[in-house]
């Protein structure tokens, strides 16, 4: 009895400290409607499967057991790892190419005039359209999806960086001119920090697109990755529970990646741009 009371008292203290933290409360309150919508959706899904007595379309619970199955035999981590590796590689190459190129195009008028039309033509081409050429050039190994991720995420980042340079407020450039600093100082202390918020926005967009594309790219011929897992689950015995499990996992990881990029927006170095 005594122990129970102690545990109860602890719980009360914990709850109170939670309530005291108004920020936490507000966050909880803000997420409540979203959670409610999710709950309603899952309930509707469950009900419709139950009513129609569908054999192929899985119930939410079947998806959960399917996911547990994937976790237990270890294939889920393998597929997630493979997808993340491809996204990481393609995205990293895109960042390395896009940021210097975007800065250069933003700063040098001639570079912009020369390259911008080309990029504007290449940009709207869907990465899916690149798949045959990617296979032709890079075969069916890892290089193809990495290339597709690169090509899809590089343009948004170039564009954002260029826009960032173009929208640097003149008063800052004038101040730099006034103090007569070196070109190196001008770039490292004025241009790049001024553009950094835009670069981060570009990276957020780029990573989002990259994650979108990796799944599509993996549906072709690879033996690993979440995209492969989905196609394989369908082809090898209509395991639609695993198909849906894969979809949900893709969504959750995408959310996580975006959250990570959003943490960059919280850096003190760029907070001036996004408000306090």
């Amino acid at each position: 009895m005594g122990e129970d009371r102690l545990a109860y008292a602890r719980m009360v203290v914990e709850v109170e400290s939670l309530i005291e933290n108004k920020n936490d409360m507000r966050k909880v309150q803000q997420t409540l409607p979203a959670l409610a919508v999710l709950a309603v959706l899952i309930a509707a899904w469950w009900a419709s499967v139950a009513i129609t007595k569908s054999v192929i379309f899985p119930s939410p619970w079947q998806v959960v057991t399917g996911t547990i199955e994937l976790i237990e035999d270890g294939t889920l981590w393998m597929h997630i790892g493979a997808s993340l590796m491809r996204v990481g590689a393609g995205f990293l190459i895109a960042v390395i190419v896009a940021i210097p190129l975007g800065l250069w195009m933003g700063w040098v008028k001639g570079a912009y005039a020369t390259l911008n039309p080309l990029f504007q033509i290449l940009r709207p081409i869907s990465p899916i359209a690149w798949i045959p050429i990617a296979i032709l050039w890079f075969g069916v190994g890892n290089a193809s999806p990495i290339y597709l991720i690169f090509i899809s995420s590089v343009f948004p980042m170039i564009v954002q960086t260029t826009v960032g340079v173009h929208t640097i407020e003149k008063r800052y450039l004038r101040a730099a001119e006034n103090f007569g600093v070196s070109r190196y100082a001008l770039f490292t202390q004025v241009v790049i920090p001024a553009v950094l918020p835009q670069i981060i926005v570009g990276m957020r967009i780029g990573l989002g697109v990259a994650w979108l594309v990796v799944v599509a790219a993996e549906m072709i011929a690879l033996r690993s990755g979440l995209g492969y897992m989905i196609m394989d689950s369908r082809n090898a015995g209509n395991r639609y529970d695993l198909v849906i499990a894969g979809m949900i996992i893709i969504g959750l990881i995408g959310l996580l990646l975006d959250g990570t990029m959003r943490m960059l927006e919280g850096l003190k170095l760029v907070r001036w741009r996004y408000g306090h």
């Binding site: 008063r171 800052y172 004038r174 101040a175 730099a176 001119e177 006034n178 103090f179 007569g180 600093v181 070196s182 100082a185 202390q189 004025v190 920090p193 001024a194 950094l196 003190k268 170095l269 760029v270 907070r271 001036w272 741009r273 306090h276």
Partner: protein
């Protein structure tokens, strides 16, 4: 006889020396500056119409004029950011056509870099110092403008008045010979603006700088300047010049100051008696 000749000769020499000194001590010389801009319909808009004046070393000159008369254009030309169509700006005997760190422009909206801390902002213009010295110098000037304790703060963490102080400190730390101030305090509220004026006077008493101030606030000009030039409406030229012979600290409510204020306002086309 011999003595008289020598005396005359000595007098002549003295005159010659004085003239040389006067020429040397003219820090800024603005010679017949004209500037126009092309309008959208293709016609030319004449903005500055033959402005000439000179500023002595260490002098504080205020330029007042009606809004839109071309004050800022004139300041941009004098500080080297804009080229005049005609005329020249001579600084220390050298024609000026580019801005440099010898003359720092402080503008209305400010240009403290929001991505650098106060200390980093102050260190920005310090070339050729060792990093440790830079930080020390930056902190020294932060202290002068009353920003001690805020060296590591980012500009968005500062109030409007503190931002102005940071801007002023960043200009002072490079020891500019001339400060060009284009309505520096007009974005502040009246109380803060007054406080910043006193602050500026306190600093200028410590470190001599030649200052050119552009303002639409006649009282601010009387408070700060040794000489006030009144500009005409666009295309602008110098319409009148007033000496401000009052010693610091100035009492703006004194009859002489009020009289000067009325006279300047009359030049600007505003009658204001009594208030």
């Amino acid at each position: 006889m011999g003595i008289e000749t020598e005396a005359v000769g000595g007098w002549r020499l003295a005159v010659g020396k004085k003239r040389i000194r006067e020429m040397q001590s003219s820090k800024i010389e603005v010679r017949n500056i004209r500037k126009g801009f092309a309008k959208d319909d293709g016609t030319a808009l004449n903005v500055v119409d033959g402005v000439s004046f000179s500023v002595r070393d260490g002098e504080f000159v205020a330029i007042v004029g009606p809004s839109g008369c071309g004050k800022s254009t004139l300041m941009n030309i004098i500080s080297g950011f804009v080229q005049p169509d005609q005329g020249a700006v001579i600084i220390d005997g050298q024609p000026r056509n580019k801005p440099n760190a010898k003359g720092i422009l402080i503008s209305q909206h400010g240009s403290v870099f929001p991505w650098l801390t106060v200390r980093e902002n102050l260190m920005f213009g310090l070339n050729g110092h060792a990093p440790a010295n830079k930080a020390e110098l930056a902190d020294h000037y932060a202290a002068i403008v009353g920003l001690t304790g805020f060296e590591k703060a980012y500009p968005h963490e500062l109030s409007g008045g503190m931002l102005k102080r940071a801007e002023l400190a960043r200009a002072l730390v490079v020891k500019p010979e001339v400060l060009y101030m284009d309505e520096p305090f007009s974005a502040l509220d009246a109380l803060m603006s007054l406080r910043m004026r006193n602050e500026l006077l306190r600093i200028l008493a410590k470190e001599r700088h030649t200052v050119m101030l552009i303002t639409h606030d006649v009282e601010e000009a009387i408070h700060l300047a040794d000489r006030i030039m009144v500009l005409s409406p666009r295309p602008t030229r110098i319409q009148a010049t007033f000496d401000v012979p009052f010693a610091h600290p100035r009492r703006l409510s004194s009859p002489e100051a009020q009289e000067l204020r009325v006279a300047i306002l009359r030049e600007l086309g505003v009658d204001s008696y009594g208030d």
